[in-house]
């Protein structure tokens, strides 16, 4: 059958155009997801808020105590009002936001590293290694995260000294919170990675690579892992939201980053006593946490759909 010239041109064009990588496919699908874009937009706005905001307010502004000005409602001078120490809440949400977000991201890095390592090793080697690691995972998973958080936070207490990053001085408790949150949230990812490894390692490309003489290390990290990157990314994104929330919880209980360093979470703790009298104290940090978590959830949802529109993995 003769093919029309136009069609054959189209066909030629299509053949010449390079096929899209899975990443690009995912990106396109992501862009079509309206909610996800909104989420990303909010996130960008928040990040701008906590970074560019520092141009307008110095850290000293955020910590400047002026008792005579305490608990004043939002005004031109203090758009978000002041807290019990007369400190400007707007400035504190900027600097507090830095810490909350940094804690969120760092904690997720810790948990992803731990989760992927454990999941990969368990899935790849199977057998005894798998049993032991999975029992260990179950064990730590069984204990409610908040309970573990409380115990670990108290345990490490203030044993870490302060350190400097990006020109800001962070108290040692930030490191501890990062570690504590990270070490209590890796289990879920470990299970997913493990089950993916279990199924992937039977596939032909792995056998082929093995025959070609690849080392275990190479097999795990260069061959199998890239194929399971999608759920890791999705999980990690959603984990950031969870980590920010965890930081808020634990600061609310008074065991997180200690005042006078501000985080969104411990600002809520301070606000608890002023429910009636000074609602601006809890409204602003709370809304910011809400926005951040919301945005991340939108984006994470979009990511999940982008990588596999049919996937209906648990909302965790």
């Amino acid at each position: 059958m003769a093919v029309s010239a136009a069609t054959s041109d189209l066909l030629q064009a299509r053949i010449k155009r390079r096929p899209l990588t899975p990443g690009q496919v995912a990106l396109r699908r992501f862009i079509r997801h309206k909610m996800a874009l909104v989420g990303v937009g909010i996130l960008v706005a928040l990040i701008l808020y906590v970074t560019v905001g520092t141009v307008f307010f110095s850290e000293a502004d955020a910590n400047y105590v002026d008792l005579r000005n305490k608990l004043s409602p939002p005004s031109w001078e203090h758009p978000f009002g002041t807290d019990l120490g007369g400190r400007d809440i707007l400035a504190r949400t900027i600097y507090g936001g830095q810490i909350s977000i940094i804690i969120g991201i760092l904690a997720v890095i810790v948990s992803v590293v731990a989760g992927v390592l454990i999941g990969a090793l368990a899935g790849f080697y199977g057998g005894i290694v798998d049993s032991l690691l999975m029992r260990f995972t179950e064990a730590t998973f069984n204990i409610p995260q908040l309970f573990l958080l409380i115990a670990l936070a108290k345990f490490f207490g203030t044993k870490m000294p302060a350190f400097n990053l990006f020109g800001r001085s962070f108290s040692g408790s930030v490191v501890i919170i990062v570690g504590v949150i990270g070490l209590t949230s890796w289990m879920y990812l470990a299970r997913i990675v493990r089950s993916n490894f279990l199924s992937l390692k039977e596939q032909e490309f792995v056998t082929a690579a093995r025959c070609a003489g690849a080392t275990d290390f190479s097999l795990i990290f260069e061959h199998i892992l890239p194929n399971t990157i999608a759920p890791i990314i999705v999980s990690a994104t959603l984990e950031v939201a969870s980590a920010i929330l965890s930081e808020a919880y634990i600061s609310f209980l008074g065991m997180g980053v200690q005042p006078p360093t501000a985080t969104w979470g411990n600002m809520l703790n301070e606000a608890y006593n002023h429910l009636e009298g000074a609602p601006w104290m809890w409204f602003f940090p709370g809304t910011l946490i809400l926005l951040a978590v919301l945005a991340i959830n939108f984006a994470g949802d979009g990511l999940r759909d982008a990588f596999d529109p049919r996937s209906l993995a648990a909302t965790q």
């Binding site: 064990a139 069984n142 309970f147």
Partner: protein, 344 residues
């Protein structure tokens, strides 16, 4: 089946032992339990400190303390009067025999201390779980059936927001509106603290009234999450062939949903609910703190702060056991729900 259950239970035992050891070491290093004896107003005289350290068994190395905690010390002689010479048998039987030791703070059996509170937490959690189940089912199924309607979109948007809220922020908002402002506006307002008004006593009505706000704040977040999940599960199932066949056969909608679609969507739901127990307990800590609910979460927090080892370990052990049992129960429920799943 029984073999499977037995095997899981047997596997659980070394698991629990290891957990308890790790936790014990962790908890033992939380601080000095005797530091706040006397409150913050009167420090403990030295001779008494020495004596109490000995009597509470805190002068021994951590591993020895753990062993005693586990199996008691009534089989060995301990030094009662402080002269360094063991003279009388101990009085503790150890956790394996059901003796969790005496609370450091309250000087009575830790089990009693925990037992008084655990029911309050269970009440809170059960109420919450029930509310979560009912509402997520209703909302999720309704949303799925009316996909893309205005109603569905509103619910989805609200779910996202609800799901992203820290529970305690929600509690604060609820308190602000329904307690503080309702009172200001002269409306019947919800109480903020406690399980019941003292003068009226612990009647069912009182307790339910005091439960409303805590349960609302705990459950809204979960409902938001689960309703979306159920919605997506239902959507997946509804589009399956067998459901279309059922409709084609002329079955009424309710029967199609309840009899066919729902059962298949329910399976993962069971997992979620089963796994939700630890999360709920965690959320309970904060909620109990805000609402002054005398429960186990609050006790845990207080005990951890006071380095009260028997109570803290007691709570952690109880939770671990509960969660393990719950997981096994969940797995067994699976087999009833999905005949394709069978265990050896």
């Amino acid at each position: 089946m029984t073999r499977y259950v037995l095997r899981r239970l047997l596997q659980a035992i070394p698991l629990l032992l290891i957990i308890s050891l790790i936790l014990f070491i962790l908890i033992s290093n939380l601080g000095d339990p005797l530091a706040s004896f006397g409150g913050t107003r009167r420090r403990l005289p030295p001779a008494d400190r020495e004596r109490l350290t000995r009597q509470l068994g805190l002068d021994k190395p951590v591993i020895v303390q753990y062993v005693i905690w586990l199996i008691g010390n009534d089989w060995m002689k301990i030094d009662v009067d402080g002269d360094g010479i063991p003279d009388a048998y101990g009085t503790r039987q150890g956790v394996l025999r059901g003796d969790f030791g005496n609370s450091f703070q309250e000087r009575r059996p830790a089990i009693e201390v925990i037992g008084e509170r655990v029911w309050n937490t269970l009440l809170l959690m059960t109420a919450c779980e029930a509310v979560v189940l009912i509402f997520s089912l209703l909302i999720g199924i309704y949303s799925a059936l009316r996909q893309y309607s205005a109603w569905d979109n509103t619910i989805t948007a609200l779910s996202f927001i609800g799901y992203s809220m820290p529970v305690f922020w929600l509690s604060l908002v609820l308190i602000y509106i329904f307690s503080v402002n309702f009172k200001r506006w002269g409306l019947p307002y919800f109480p903020v603290t406690g399980m019941y008004d003292l003068e009226v006593g612990p009647t069912v009505g009182q307790i339910v009234w005091h439960l409303v706000l805590p349960v609302a704040s705990l459950s809204i977040v979960s409902i938001a999450g689960y309703s979306r999940y159920i919605r997506s599960q239902m959507l997946e199932v509804i589009n399956q062939d067998y459901v279309r066949t059922a409709y084609a056969k002329g079955l009424p909608e309710r029967m199609v949903i309840m009899g066919h679609a729902f059962k298949n969507a329910a399976l993962p739901l069971v997992t979620i609910i089963g796994m939700d127990l630890p999360l709920l307990l965690g959320g309970a800590v904060v909620t109990e703190a805000i609402f002054g609910w005398p429960g186990m979460g609050r006790l845990y927090f207080k005990a951890t702060n006071a380095a009260d080892i028997p109570v803290t370990m007691g709570i952690l052990v109880i939770i671990s056991v509960l969660v393990v049992l719950f997981q096994i129960a969940t797995d067994i429920t699976y087999t009833f729900l999905d005949p394709r799943i069978r265990y050896e």
